[in-house]
Amino acid sequence: MNEQQQTLWQFMAQQSDKLLMQTLQHISLTFISLIIAVLIGLPLGIFIARRKAFSGPVLGIAGILQTIPSIALLGFMIPLLGIGPKPAIVALLLYALLPIIRNTYTGISCVDGSVKEAAIAMGMSGWQLLFKVELPLAMPVILAGIRTATVINVGVATLASYIAAGGLGEFIFGGISLNNTNMILAGAIPAALLAILFDFLLSLLQKLNRKKLKMATRVLPAVLVVMACFYFVPSAYGSKLTAGFTPEFMGRQDGNLGLQSKYGLKIHTIVISDAVMYKAAFEKELDVISGYSTDGRLKAYDLVVLDDDKKIFPPYYAAPIVRDDALKKFPELEPTLNLLAGKINDSIMTDLNYRTDYLHQSPDRVAKDFLVAHHLLKPAGRGSAGIVRIGSKIFGEQYILASMYSMLIKGYTNYDVATKTGLGGTKICFDALTNNQIDLYPEYTGTGLLAILKPSPQQINAVTGNKEKTYNYVKSQFEKRYQIKWLYPIGFNNAYALMMRRKQATQLGVKSISDLKQYLETK
């Protein structure tokens, strides 16, 4: 009964350190990239205003860069620049380039020809013409471009948290995966305010009269540099190893909070999207990551799971959860779904995940192969007795499970199946289930406990030590509160785990999280 009842204000007050840090990072990301974009875009704009033949290609290329979706652009950056602020800054600056180049070009091209002629005829050199006449006259238009670029950057910078560059996106995406509205708002509202604030300040600048503008254009670079420097406020503690945790892991009691309180683990931590986390660990950008114990990439990148010797990660046994009324409507559903109960253990699941995530086999094929191997596949029936809607979260394991259930239902019953796979996160899946948009999806006991039920810490302590206790608790609570039934667990435990590269872990002699803590504390 903690976070849900908190007001947004309380949350922000409680997290004020983090909020300040993220806001400063956000401002820095925005302005570092903006300064670089100005340093590149302004001369380029001037150049193409002088040599019009280049204007088409340059503006064309900048325009194409602008159309690349932000997440894709961030993705392109990882192989080139790794993770962290570097690729984020490069991506942001690419977005900021177009408005700056275009407005510089337009501004300078639109300076009155007779004014330019007069300047030349007075005996100004090319540089004097540029700095005394063209740039000052183009300045309002150039500033408009910088203003557009700033607002774009404040927005896109929220995505920087995907690649461990920090910023307010950490709260936003952490909040989405943790089903925590306050956290989302604590990131989203400051981000929106920043955009509005910078837009407003720059609009004031544009409206200044010429004399003040002259002064402002001298002060502005200094202000920008100061803003950009926020990023380099040293982080709280440095350490020998670098950890990369997902935004979700950062905010969870059974995640980073537990690591800090129960293990006293102090490690230099950056926030990163799980899409790039494993790769970053493999490429030695990160040393310790928060992964899932059945993730296929564990096998692909030769990572080892550190033993959770103090049991802070609750069990995450997967089981299908179904709305009670759907079970009534489709009486054959429950026995069919239970066909899979106990069939898949951790190593089987890791292997299945490895095949989809790393060998890029389709989840359908992986599911089918498994069912065939276990003699569970039957040809599909006519499917005339209604449609069962299956949901899944947006990662490979869930796609495989949804696919298996779909084949089982078609083969063993007369129902047809509609799959709604790739639902963003726990919150989206669970809301879809309670709002009768889907009938079932595979859920994990730990998630049900911590992300949905959110009991008191004492209660959590009481039930997380043992997998049966957790299962029974969520089963009874879901029935009571939501009229949703947990069917039998499938068998594997996809719990949170800390992982390291096998080679490094062996070298350092780290086998458990306690070992890791010890290693970090020996100077």
Binding site: D112, S114, V115, E117, A118, A119, I120, A121, M122, G123, M124, S125, Q128, K132, V133, P136, L137, R210
Partner: protein, 322 residues
């Protein structure tokens, strides 16, 4: 002072200026006259190298302009544009002080010169800190002129300087322009398509067509000794007014043997005054007469409108017989 030799310039194979040569004496005001596209502006702009010639040479003070840095050359030549070309982001004072600033004059000297010019051009001091867009067209043109004159350059180039003004403002500024003592010492080349303006302001007129000089001479030469039909046709509108402007008072009334002066309304007139200006000075009331005063005998000859006209016709008759 300025010597132009065999100057040519083509744009995309069209000859804008085709092998022209002329000279301008020190203190002379040469008008390049012609219709648009005749090459007069191109010629003007080749003199301060806003346009580089394809062929030919230009000498100022005997020095080939191609041997100088274009910036240095231009800083020594005043330039007035048709649309004034004032810097919209500079105040009036800053606009006038552009060249002194480039030449790194000290502040005091610049300020002093700026206010001096403002006074001479009949602009109030309150305009110093005003931006050009707050001025009227006539005021802007005056500031443009002040900017060109600020370093007191020996040579002044003017590209249709009064072209953008309405008729009333134009004639007022033309009158001021003529009266400005700063300009009397200067060698000026002015471009215009306005025949009346050319006759009003030019010591000599160079009529151009299709990139060539058709006739280069005194205003009276063009009127009374046109080299061809083109010149005659060009000047046929309002010819009488042109004649009045071209003919000086001393052309029709010979003072030489006696060494006298002309006086109108009790004021001594310039020796170079045109018949047009004497007539303009007449208010056509009964008592208005031109007085011709003999230096030695102090004898006054009184000449009215009719007397002037008679002298004018006699002069014209003489021209026709020459």
């Amino acid at each position: 002072m300025i010597k132009v030799e065999h100057l040519s310039k083509s744009f995309n194979k069209t000859k804008a200026v085709d092998n022209i040569s002329f000279e301008v004496a020190e203190g002379e005001n040469l008008v390049l006259l012609g219709t648009s596209g005749c090459g007069k502006t191109t010629t003007l702009k080749m003199i301060n190298r806003l346009i580089e010639p394809d062929q030919g040479k230009v000498f100022i003070h005997g020095q080939n302009i191609m041997d100088q840095q274009p910036e240095t050359l231009r800083r020594g030549i005043g330039y007035v544009l048709q649309n004034n070309g004032l810097f919209p982001h500079y105040t009036v004072a800053e606009n006038i002080a552009v060249v002194p600033q480039l030449l790194k004059w000290n502040k005091k000297q610049t300020q002093h010169r700026v206010s001096e010019l403002l006074e001479k051009l009949h602009l109030d001091k309150k305009y110093l800190s005003v931006y050009p867009n707050e001025l009227s067209g006539g005021q802007q043109q005056r500031v443009g002129l002040a900017r060109a004159l600020v370093t007191d350059p020996a040579v002044l180039l003017m590209d249709e300087p009064f072209g953008a003004l309405d008729t009333v403002t134009r004639s007022k500024i033309q009158a001021e322009f003529k009266a400005l003592d700063e300009l009397k010492r200067k060698t000026i080349i002015m471009v215009t398509h306005d025949v009346q303006e050319a006759f009003e302001l030019g010591d000599r007129i160079c009529l151009m067509d299709k990139g060539k000089i058709v006739q280069n001479g005194l205003p009276g030469d063009l009127l009374f000794k046109p080299v061809n039909a083109f010149v005659r046709d060009f000047l046929k509108d309002q010819r009488l007014q042109l004649e009045f402007k071209a003919i000086k008072l001393r052309d029709i009334i010979d003072l030489r043997p006696k060494g006298g002066v002309f006086e109108l309304h009790g004021e001594v007139l310039s020796q170079n005054i045109s018949l047009w200006h004497v007539l303009e000075g007449f208010k056509f009331s009964k008592a208005e007469n031109l007085h011709i005063i003999d230096h030695y005998s102090k004898k006054k000859t009184v000449l009215g409108f009719e007397g002037l006209m008679t002298a004018f016709y006699q002069y014209k008759k003489r021209q026709a017989h020459e």
